[in-house]
């Protein structure tokens, strides 16, 4: 009977009484699951993260190795793919194998919008330094503005492993909330006439261009910022598998079984890393605040840069496309489409928005490479 009482004293029900933080995190996890299912905000990410947060916040006695931070636990082994930065490149491999870069190839000017939106990263870095984060931490926080989960995880693992949880959660949350964050900024910074601009239909792209694109792009980026080598190497490798036409079965596995397996485990582990004890700190609040600023600045930079480009271009760009430069693929491109169609239901911007959208992925990977090489400790 003592044993039974003792057991109940060690059970989660009893332990939760002392750990309201865990209760809060479990509720947040459930909210994530709700948003994923009911609102369909990035469900492939939010659902695993949400359920992971529920699992990671069940309290247990210390002598059992159960959580992602306990040596020898199963979750620890699976989490190693996060802390060692192994999962993000594998996800980029799959993304490369599923992305069709033709719209970008047919309109190279739009690539620049993907560069402008990276402004969010560097301004946030300055903000984070100002608040008092160390340079490494500030770099990792800045990358939230890259709006790219795998890139954020990869860089945090290198520069600020202690903040990996909040940074990853912030990055994925805001990516999921892009349909909420971006439209007001887009309406504020553009007028109706601009939003009505139609883009020319893109030209046909040859198979050769598609094959040469990943090779050249990789060489340019890796030479310029070797730190981006792993992420962009995998992205371009995956794309080459897809476009070569001779390795279709490999591309198929990369964009299905492989990326799905990694996505499941990555999301779950990131969620499970939000144990209230390490997660509910003032630092996390600052990170979420800076992340929101970062997304807003990135969106604004893209929009404004598009308007600046229009000063010099004969064929005007619809400045809404600038907002797609933040990446958050493919959600921000969809947002551009929706906002554009509100003014003119026959204006199809989606395919044009994919160009700055994927350019933004490359842009933030380069930024991550730069931050890594500049801020890496030792």
């Amino acid at each position: 009977m003592d044993m039974l009482i003792n057991f109940f004293q060690q059970s989660g029900f009893a332990l939760l009484a002392d750990n309201w933080g865990n209760v809060i995190m479990i509720v947040i996890g459930c909210v994530f699951i709700y948003l994923a299912i009911a609102k369909e905000y990035e469900p492939l990410l939010l659902l695993p993260i949400g359920f992971g947060a529920v699992v990671g916040n069940i309290p247990y006695i210390e002598s059992m190795a159960l959580g992602v931070y306990d040596d020898g636990s199963v979750l620890r082994y699976l989490y190693m793919g996060v802390t060692q930065g192994i999962y993000p490149p594998l996800i980029f491999l799959g993304i490369g194998a599923m992305t069709d870069f033709s719209t970008m190839l047919s309109n190279p000017k739009l690539v620049l919008l993907g560069a402008a939106a990276q402004m969010g990263i560097f301004l946030t870095l300055i903000g984070a330094l100002f608040i008092g984060f160390t340079p490494g931490e500030a770099g990792a926080i800045g990358i939230i503005g890259g709006a790219d989960g795998p890139t954020a995880i990869f860089l945090s693992a290198k520069l600020a492993p202690n903040l990996l949880g909040p940074i990853a959660i912030a990055a994925y949350s805001y990516m999921a909330l892009v349909p909420v964050i971006q439209p007001p900024i887009m309406k504020l910074l553009t007028n109706k006439k601009e939003r009505l601009i139609r883009m020319k239909p893109p030209r046909q792209v040859s198979k050769r261009e598609k094959i040469l694109f990943p090779i050249g792009t990789f060489l340019i980026c890796a030479m310029l910022a070797p730190g981006a080598l792993t992420l962009l190497g995998m992205l371009c490798f995956g794309n080459l598998l897809k476009e070569s036409g001779v390795t279709e079965r490999l591309a198929n596995t990369a964009r299905n079984a492989l990326i799905d397996s990694v996505t499941i485990i990555l999301g779950f582990c990131v969620g499970a890393s939000t144990q209230a004890q390490t997660f509910l700190t003032p630092k996390s609040l600052f990170i979420f605040f800076l992340g929101a600023v970062s997304f807003a600045v990135a969106t604004a930079s893209g929009l404004i840069f598009a308007k600046v480009m229009n000063l010099f271009l004969k064929d005007k760009i619809n400045p809404l496309l600038g907002a797609a430069g933040v990446s958050a693929v493919p959600d921000s491109a969809r947002v551009v489409q929706h906002v554009g169609q509100k003014e003119d239901p026959n204006n199809f911007l989606l395919m044009h928005a994919m160009a700055p959208n994927v350019a933004g992925v490359i842009g933030s990977a380069i930024a991550a490479g730069i931050l890594w090489s500049v801020l890496v400790p030792g």
Partner: protein, 127 residues
């Protein structure tokens, strides 16, 4: 391997067994209750949601009625009724269809949207 009941008492085998079965039963009884109560709770919830919506709709209708011109009802000919019914039905179908499509797109989320844009582009140049 020495057979002896002493081993069992030393390790408090009986205690573990009783505790174990008690907790296993607690767990599955709780699950059983949880499952049994779910439909009722969901039902009640749905009703309340429905009530709220009904109230809102009623309010709106009142406001609309107030805002509407004095003798609107008599002017609703059969043709108008048919037209309204048709629009409502079409709208409903559209919503359903949109819903359906949204789910479909979602399923292989990234892949389709990313790949489709390329295909769209191809189509656009061919047209």
């Amino acid at each position: 391997m020495d057979f002896s009941f002493q081993n069992v008492t030393n390790a408090d085998g009986i205690g573990i067994a009783i505790t174990g079965m008690a907790i296993v039963f607690s767990g599955l009884v709780l699950i059983s209750l949880y499952i049994a109560s779910m439909p009722k709770l969901l039902n009640r919830m749905e009703k309340e949601v429905a009530k709220k919506q009904a109230r809102k709709a009623a309010k709106k209708a009142k406001v609309a009625a107030a805002a509407a011109p004095a003798k609107p009802v008599t002017e609703l000919t059969d043709e108008m009724m048919a037209a309204i019914a048709f629009v409502i039905r079409a709208e409903k179908e559209y919503e359903d269809a949109e819903d359906h499509q949204r789910i479909t797109v979602q399923h292989d989320d990234a892949s389709t949207v990313w790949a489709v844009t390329g295909r769209l582009r191809n189509l656009s140049t061919r047209m």
